[in-house]
Amino acid sequence: MTHPRRLAFLAPLTMLAACSVVATPYSPSVENIQTLKNASPVHARIGDFRSLDGGDNHYPLQVRANVMRSPVGSSFADYLSNAVTQELTFAGTLSPSASVELGGILLQNNVDVGVGTGVGTISARFVVKRDGAVRYDQVKTVRSEWDSSFAAAIAVPRATQQYPLVVQKLLGSLYSDPAFISAIR
């Protein structure tokens, strides 16, 4: 194989090699903060958030030829915990000494970056305890779609930016559940 041909052959392989990208850090949703504020008086602390790996939940997350990691902690359960912590903080409802504890298990965490459409699916089981007794235990699942691109240089960064929006939607579905609000009051 001549030198230019070897280069032409190797260059695309290099571009396809697995690179590591990081999900965009979570930015709280104003809607979610308002929902929590409207539920006041609420005081809660953050409990254990963990990930049930397997099936559609692997870490790091495969995004085309790349793998996506969490910008906080060592799993996307840590990302979810950080997201809840930020929103409770901004809503003025986070209280480390509260008797109400919110925890969760990440069940499904999948980002499918297609040529035309990207799809993010997250499912988590949320558990609220008051003085150790379970007051709420439900699974919330959300799915979001966005315009994707054939070019990985566009599609992969867009997927990393969309990820926090899927988490916002997941938390929005949790906060809008009257049973959840009743449990944390």
């Binding site: 709280p28 104003v30 566009i154």
Partner: protein, 198 residues
């Protein structure tokens, strides 16, 4: 056509697609921890912040480096920083998707309606890298009473600069610095406004 010719054509098309002036997505607001600081004497009024769904989804494309462009959603990205800034200045803030009618204003006890307008500029002298190294965010807040009477209008410009070596994985760093600068300047402008305390 020989396979080698097909490969060459595919490589050429791929390179053209890569090098053509595509818009790279960036986020123009970052860590908002610096904006969580209620002022010692917040204005004892409840304000409504209006950012419509249409504004939230509005995408702006502006220059990056190397002939490329960057794309972002200013109203979506600045919604939280502006909300936090207003929360620092006023007793309470309520985010609204449209101008409230009289009944809504009364129910929510709104004293003022704040309508932001955001404009941006971006640039980079780099010929080889696309992230903008210089960014400005001009934030104008029009404050009216619920009947629409103008109370005051404040405009500030925040600027942000970031060198390529600082970017790491955050290609919107210059923009995020500009946003923080603009929002902090707006907070100062509102705190010093006598009209808002009347």
């Amino acid at each position: 056509m020989k396979i080698s010719n097909v490969l060459r054509a595919a490589c050429a098309a791929g390179m053209i697609a890569l090098l053509s002036g595509c818009a790279h997505d960036i986020t123009i607001s970052g860590d908002n921890a610096a904006l969580v600081s209620k002022t010692a004497s917040p204005i004892n009024k409840t304000v409504g912040l209006i950012i419509t769904d249409e504004e939230r989804s509005k995408e702006v494309v502006s220059p990056g480096g190397g002939g490329d462009k960057v794309a972002y959603k200013p109203y979506h990205d600045l919604e939280l920083p502006i909300y936090l800034q207003l929360s620092n200045v006023f007793k309470d803030v309520i985010k609204l998707n449209s101008v409230p009618d009289t009944a809504t204003s009364q129910t929510k006890n709104l004293s003022y309606i704040v309508t932001p307008t955001i404009t941006t500029t971006s640039s980079s002298p780099s010929l080889l890298t696309w992230p903008p190294t210089d960014f400005t965010v001009t934030l104008e807040c029009t404050v009216t009473d619920p009947s629409g009477k103008l109370i005051t209008k404040k405009a500030v410009t925040g600027s942000g600069h970031a060198e390529f070596s600082e970017f790491k994985r955050n290609f919107g760093l210059a923009a995020q610095r500009a946003t923080l600068d603009a929002v902090q300047k707006m907070q100062s402008a509102m705190q010093e406004s006598a009209e808002l305390r009347q």
